[in-house]
């Protein structure tokens, strides 16, 4: 996997702000291991040009990523994935890949697929405390 395989896709009509979509997808790429420590991100201007959005929107996403410690901005190298940021463990990542393939094969929409995961997580969360008590 290399950084060139990571792409962003934003929906301008979505209820979620564009900067939040960018932030979330960068975090997702890091979690999936497509972006690794030291990988460079495009400049704010280049990303804004490619997406056809205001540079300020990208800048806000980058600021939030930086304050969360996901990326670092250096004068020389630009914005890079911060050291210490690690992808998810191998087993969950492979399980996620397998689930994504299964969801695609079943013809689930992305929303429906994610709703299923959220539902599964919620049932675990509700099941957890009840087991302890």
């Amino acid at each position: 996997m290399t950084a060139t395989e990571a792409r962003l896709e934003v929906d301008l009509t979505s209820g979620i702000p564009v900067y939040e979509q960018i932030r979330g997808q960068v975090v997702a790429h890091v979690a999936a291991g497509r972006l690794r420590t030291g990988d460079r991100l495009p400049t704010i201007r280049a990303l804004a040009t490619d997406l056809g959005i205001a540079p300020g929107t990208v800048a806000r996403a980058f600021r939030e990523l930086e304050s969360a410690g996901v990326v670092l901005t250096r004068r020389r190298t630009g914005t890079v994935v911060a050291p210490g940021v690690v992808p998810a463990d191998d087993a969950p990542r492979r399980a996620a890949d397998a689930y994504a393939r299964a969801a695609r094969a079943a013809g689930l929409s992305d929303d429906a697929a994610i709703d299923l995961v959220r539902g599964a997580l919620m049932s675990r969360e509700s099941a957890g405390p009840s087991l302890r008590t």
Partner: protein, 366 residues
């Protein structure tokens, strides 16, 4: 004077032939690309992927930019060069400089139109936009050999003009051979001394700088939406190839003209006949300077080689540019770089991140 006219005629003819050949190559390349697409459609074979609207629009924009830049540059360069060649105003002190600057006029016009083409590159449209999450590197988007050749022509042009500038006779328009220590000497021209060398060095560096600026504009333009990164990069490389083809042609043309003019003049200066009359007879003697004659041959052969190389490289580069980014994107979703494919509904980014247990910890790392 007749030699001077001959040189001008040769340079003008070489430039004309080069431009005509290149325009033919561009048109032929465009037709070839269109033809290939028709064959695929008529043949009924499965296309790797339907060309996206954005990709088609980008290719059309690139083709119009290429035709306009090469065509308008050819149309503008000759009248402007002709006006300059008449020697009005600032060029009075260096007859022929206008003709020598003709390739530069052509090149700067071409590069200016190419720059406008890049600055007006189609913007992303639609509500869903995508972009690669990796920086674009100029070196990866530019044909390395062609760029090196362009720099090499510019460097050689500068060095040759520095040499001719330093070796020209006082006045800067002739080459002087000292035949005897008692002062017997002869001068031949035209020779590219400082009145020619200075403006031509500046012109060469201007063309090089303009080409580098346009290359950066190509790297910065918006990515073509709805296609994979590899196809977008192919379109950029094709644009870069066209720009460098023009820039190297201009520099090679100028260098060839300088070398050829220098060679013809040196050949003329390499021998001279002195004559004097005594009471009973007239005596003539011919002197030859072998070193100067050798330099003349080297300059003439080099000039012709540079001209031919420049034209050949241009034609090959334009043909490659016409076929590099075909009418159909090559990057089928299964084989190209795999997009992360977040949900289009807008809920994807946060939710997708939430799929991974590492999301939380990753965000907390200082």
């Amino acid at each position: 004077m007749s030699t001077h006219l001959l040189v001008l005629a040769v340079i003008a003819m070489a430039a004309l032939v080069g431009v005509v050949a290149i325009v033919v190559a561009v048109v032929a390349g465009g037709l070839a690309a269109s033809g290939r697409r028709q064959v695929q459609l008529v043949g009924g074979g499965p296309l790797p992927r339907d060309p996206s609207v954005a990709y088609r629009r980008a290719r059309r924009h690139a083709a119009v930019t290429a035709l306009l830049s090469w065509g308008v540059a050819a149309v503008v360069a000759f009248p402007v060069g002709g006006l300059l060649a008449r020697g009005h105003g600032v060029l009075d002190g260096a007859p022929g400089l206008g003709v020598a600057l003709l390739p530069t006029t052509f090149g700067l016009t071409l590069l200016a139109i190419a720059a406008v083409g890049e600055l007006t590159w189609p913007r992303p449209e639609g509500s869903v936009r995508s972009a690669a999450l990796a920086p674009r590197r100029l070196g990866a988007l530019t044909p390395r050999g062609l760029r090196l050749l362009t720099w090499a022509w510019a460097g050689t042009l500068t060095v040759v003009l520095l040499v001719t500038g330093l070796t020209a006779a006082a006045g800067g328009r002739t080459f002087r051979v000292q035949w005897a220590s008692d002062g017997a000497s002869s001068e031949s021209g035209p020779y590219p001394g400082w009145p020619y060398a200075g403006p031509l060095i500046v012109a060469g560096l201007l063309v090089l700088a303009a080409a580098e600026i346009v290359l950066r504009l190509i790297a910065r333009r918006p990515a073509v939406a709805d296609t994979v990164t590899a196809d977008d990069e192919r379109l950029r490389r094709a644009s870069a190839r066209r720009v460098l083809a023009g820039a190297q042609l201009v520099l090679a043309g100028t260098l060839a003209g300088v070398l050829f003019t220098t060679g013809i003049t040196l050949r003329s200066a390499a021998s001279t006949t002195f004559g004097w009359a005594t009471a009973t007879q007239s005596v003539t003697t011919t002197l030859v300077a072998p070193g100067v004659r050798f330099a003349a041959v080297v300059a003439i052969v080099s000039g012709l080689s540079v001209a031919l190389t420049g034209i050949a490289v241009t034609m090959v580069a334009l043909a490659q540019a016409a076929t590099e980014a075909g009418p159909v994107p090559t990057g089928a979703p299964a084989s190209g770089p795999v997009p992360v494919a977040p949900a289009r509904g807008g809920a994807a980014p946060r939710d997708q991140a939430a799929l991974s247990p590492a999301d939380g910890p990753a965000g907390d790392v200082p």
